[in-house]
Symmetry: D2
Subunit: 156 residues, 4 copies
């Protein structure tokens, strides 16, 4: 089965975007919890990164392509520059959660995404992340217009 | 949205069992890779644990229920006792992989699962895990017959 | 070798506190990096948690004791309620970093810690974390006076 | 403080080798545990990787140098090819453990390391790992003689 067939076989694997809002389901496994019985605090950051990756993927921006230098001739990746986060309720083993992602602001210098993790209808974690584009040699890059133009906008 | 509605909304979230073989898709994210550019070796163990969890879940055995003492009156969890693993090919960022899980042997003392991670049709990692049931106070427990009876058997 | 002997054998294992400032060294390993070649963003949160744990440990507050209900009769653990973080420079494989931790504010409701990760003399990451005490059944607890009294204060 | 000064400031940071046996202390933190209250199974693999890295480091083989192509002109890293592991006793939060590493066999094709994690005098986990050298483009490389010659041998 080739890559394209995998995506056909698992149509939800990257979540879905609707009116500029991306939703990705995540399951809470052993690896995500700690001895307190709740979700380990850094797991929420991992899940939000998955949400950001699939938000960009569905917009046609893949890490492998950035790393291959496709977009601006230089191997690069998005990196987090600043994060603010609120832990509202604890997640637990076996929970099914949803990571919601929307774009707040996009400039040549950075993209700011706002993310909420919900269980059922209840938010349990919120995050705002300012992301920048960094070359593999460590330089801050301008985000090319062709990438900025692909970022889905929230229809409010 | 309640838990049951989440499972309805994301029908693939726990993978699928067909003729005793469980399949769970996983995406390779930032968190799964390391500076070599490939998948970090311990990520394969995390993915296989997800596969084992969902294999058991679809058989009606949930971690939260075990932790709640539902099955044998004592809070407990499955734990790995022995692992053998072969790393055949490197996984890479953005890959969609599938974790396949089958039961090899089930006794009152342990359950042995055989797992293969594939990309397309090619196996990239294989693992055999012997799992035991351990109480939260650290005692080895017999696996109740009602649990053993639920373990799907491979139709060969 | 008993636990006490381990601490004698490795005198730096929990870092050191000097004038209210705790310092813990961390090495960057495979597990901490991602395919970009730099440190994975959530690794900084794991390291800062290690710093907070050892800051409290050297103040005589151990997770195992909290989990055993020693301090207030109820099994509990510190949990993060809010985090703000700035990623200043990328960490790299083999780096030796230092996590610095100081207490900013301590009340019956929460303890706020300010943390900086440095490489050589240069800060590469800063974090402010508001921490609360949560019972294993999920209740927010008052932080006992005897614990608050132990929190080292920065001599400014 | 430069890198060399960091190593001076924290003389135990890479553990120690004595008569061919490397020992690295590790502390059990939140990140290493799961909801069962014990250490998460894949944490042992992360710790053993730290032990292997520092075993090689003290032998004069650094990841950053391999990645920079210093040893054989091609960016490369050691990768695990095969692992066998036994989980003997559960680790717990706050434990101080020691990762012991010795070389079993070294050829141009692979290096096999034998590792034991102990708490006090008691082994809680054992692992045997066969490691190979892989270029960043994915090719299996011969291990240069100058590297093989540096691998400490166990004096039995």
């Amino acid at each position: 089965m080739a890559e394209d067939e995998s995506e056909t076989a698992w149509p939800d694997i990257s979540g879905h975007i609707h009116e500029g809002r991306h939703v990705l389901p995540v399951r809470v496994y052993f690896e995500d919890t700690d001895f307190s019985g709740f979700v380990y605090h850094a797991s929420y950051f991992r899940w939000c990164e998955r949400g950001r990756s699939d938000f960009l993927r569905l917009a046609g921006i893949e890490h492998a392509a950035l790393a291959g230098g496709v977009h601006n001739g230089e191997p690069c990746a998005f990196a987090v520059r600043r994060i603010g986060a609120d832990f509202l309720k604890p997640g637990r083993i076996d929970d099914i959660l949803e990571v919601q992602t929307v774009a707040r602001a996009s400039t040549k210098a950075s993209i700011t995404l706002s993310q909420t993790i919900i269980r059922g209808a209840a938010p349990i974690f919120t995050l705002e992340a300012q992301c920048v584009l960094v070359s593999f040699s460590g330089k801050l890059l301008r985000i090319p217009n062709e990438l900025l133009a692909r970022i889905p906008q929230l229809s409010s």
